[in-house]
């Protein structure tokens, strides 16, 4: 199996995993504790972060787009697509930039991604609702992003450790000529 096929298979697997995580987090009644529209843990962000670190920006982008479109399709409504796409894309761009900076740990990168996701969703809400009033939710969403981002960062750190200890990271790095696999 060549590298391109393996990357494609891994992307498909990650998309399925992200969709599964998105579904699971809907079962967590976070909205009952913090009644804010659109609030969630962002577990699928762990997958985006993994794809970004191990596969690179292109495949991570493909996984994100597939997850957003399929997630909206399976949920039976395309109205949420603009929110997940805007938030997801901004989060990925910010996480890629934060990771490239090299000063932040996986926790820091994850918190930046969570905050960017919420910012993107507020921007999408302002465009959809045609009013700037929704910005009043941003402070509360940014505070929750710090905690949700740290939580998903911890999950991502665990996944990265497992990838290192299982030899996946090294094997993947060798197969891709050392281009990727530098997730720390």
């Amino acid at each position: 199996m060549n590298r391109r096929t393996k990357t494609l298979a891994l992307c498909a697997l990650l998309t399925a995993l992200a969709l599964g995580l998105s579904y699971v987090e809907r079962l967590i009644p976070l909205g009952l504790l913090i009644p804010l529209p659109g609030i969630k843990l962002g577990l699928a962000n762990v997958v985006t972060l993994f794809a970004l670190c191990f596969l690179g920006l292109g495949p991570a982008f493909a996984v994100l787009i597939a997850r957003c479109f399929l997630g909206s399709l399976f949920a039976g409504s395309l109205s949420g697509l603009v929110f997940s796409l805007t938030g997801g894309l901004l989060a990925m761009v910010v996480m890629a930039a934060a990771r490239k900076g090299g000063r932040l740990s996986v926790y820091g990168v994850s918190v930046c991604g969570a905050a960017a996701h919420n910012l993107g969703q507020i921007c999408a809400a302002m465009a959809v609702m045609k009013t700037p009033a929704v910005i009043s939710y941003l402070p509360a969403l940014l505070v929750t992003a710090v905690f949700a981002g740290a939580l998903t960062g911890a999950a991502a750190a665990g996944v990265f450790r497992a990838a290192q200890s299982s030899g996946f990271a090294q094997a993947w790095g060798r197969e891709t000529n050392g281009k990727q696999g530098g997730a720390t």
Binding site: P35, G38, F83, G108, V128, M129, A133, I135, A140, V146
Partner: protein, 112 residues
Amino acid sequence: MCALILLLALGLTLGLHAGAKTDGAQVVVSAGGTQVLQKPLEGTEGRFPIDGEYPLTVCISGGRVWVEDSHCPGGDCQAQRPISRPGQSIVCLPGRITVAIRGGGAADLIVG
């Protein structure tokens, strides 16, 4: 990084609410970007049904505003605590309905 984000949240909160006065504040309800209701916050008592894809009822009483009987799938708008200060809002994303308080203060410049 966390401290920076928390500081940003604090700054935004202060920016949105600092100097906002409830005197002359108005409750403004918009559906799909179109204003469908405007009532003074103080002195208004009542329940106001708002039509749309997901109808809901806006309640104003004692200088506070909240949402009841929402038909939206999530019900987040109904779960939110009552609002009472200019700059605050309740949003129903599925119904594209916004309930905002506009008042005489700095918040007027931000909440349109």
